[in-house]
Symmetry: C3
Subunit: 138 residues, 3 copies
């Protein structure tokens, strides 16, 4: 059984990180599927998905890592070609990845107590985003 849903978000860009756990949990509850996996996918090359303990300290620490290894304020070949200034956003997105798959059992995500599913918008401007939520199970 396959159920396709979507999540819509407005972000500020610039490494805006949003906790999308409630929306994904809602999608599963509404799908009529008891156990299986949910794949959340961002159809974009400047954003990504992972999990983290969603508290301001850990979020700041993750952003520092990205600022250090993929800083916004240096030359990027992408920017030289296209002039849109989001070369770092593309590299970060490729590194973190556009997709995450999480099991659910008895209609509930198997996330840990201190673990949230996050969407990271690496683009250099505010964006309206649409995520694909594909639920597969029985």
């Amino acid at each position: 059984m396959v159920v396709t849903k979507e999540i819509r978000l407005n972000t500020q860009g610039h490494c805006d990180v949003q906790d999308i756990t409630p929306q994904v949990a809602d999608a599963i509850r509404g799908a009529g599927v008891s156990s299986g996996i949910v794949t959340v996918f961002t159809p974009s090359s400047t954003s990504g998905l992972t999990t983290i303990e969603y508290e301001s300290g850990a979020l700041a620490d993750l952003e520092r890592l990205l600022d250090e290894v993929v800083p916004p304020d240096r030359d990027y070949r992408h920017n030289l070609r296209w002039g849109d200034g989001n070369g770092h956003s593309h590299v970060r997105a490729a590194l973190i990845g556009p997709s995450i798959t999480i099991p659910f059992v008895d209609g509930r995500l198997t996330l840990g107590t201190w673990q949230q599913l996050i969407f990271l918008d690496f683009d250099n401007r505010s964006r309206s985003r649409r995520l694909v939520v594909q639920i597969i199970g029985e």
Copy 2:
């Protein structure tokens, strides 16, 4: 067809890396599913999953990368807030990711000859861990 299993592990923390290929292969063999995918998921925000050639050289090289880009011995905002000293563990976990999905065919994982499925415990103490193994196929 969906079959849920779990794997229990005791780790030493501090980037303890364990080869969980045998346990996942066993889970598939016991599931009565011939072909499909297995998603292994850690319900934790201080550990991760990926694959590697499981030999001490490659493991040491991966740990060096993590020590360089996410060192344990610096300030973390997470630690300032919570005092538990595992800020680096959270960042590493978000970077590596909590989930991996691998196809299996005729009851066998499609891993390469020199490729093992690994669980990485980034926490700063020994832990008892439970992984979710979700098998979907026919």
Copy 3:
């Protein structure tokens, strides 16, 4: 419904990045499955999969990041043990990950307009590669 396909590629190694979107889209079209997920997996410990805007600038920027954090020209414990000179390839592969799962709907991948599915060969020589494409849906 589970359909297993494969993709064969010849690469130059040395961070050769190939756009495999057309091959994966073809695999889905030929599978007779309308909606579901496709998992593409590399049975190798020296290559990886992610998405990016497939243009030479973004590809060069991603390669620069990898050259900076996992440079080829330094000592690796893997190389000291095995003498094959691809220690950096193993670390990069573990970092990027061997697997990607993407939803498809009405027979079409849900990738964004400027987003392509890429295979990255990190090995230090040309390789013939075989990828597993596992399609699950209805």
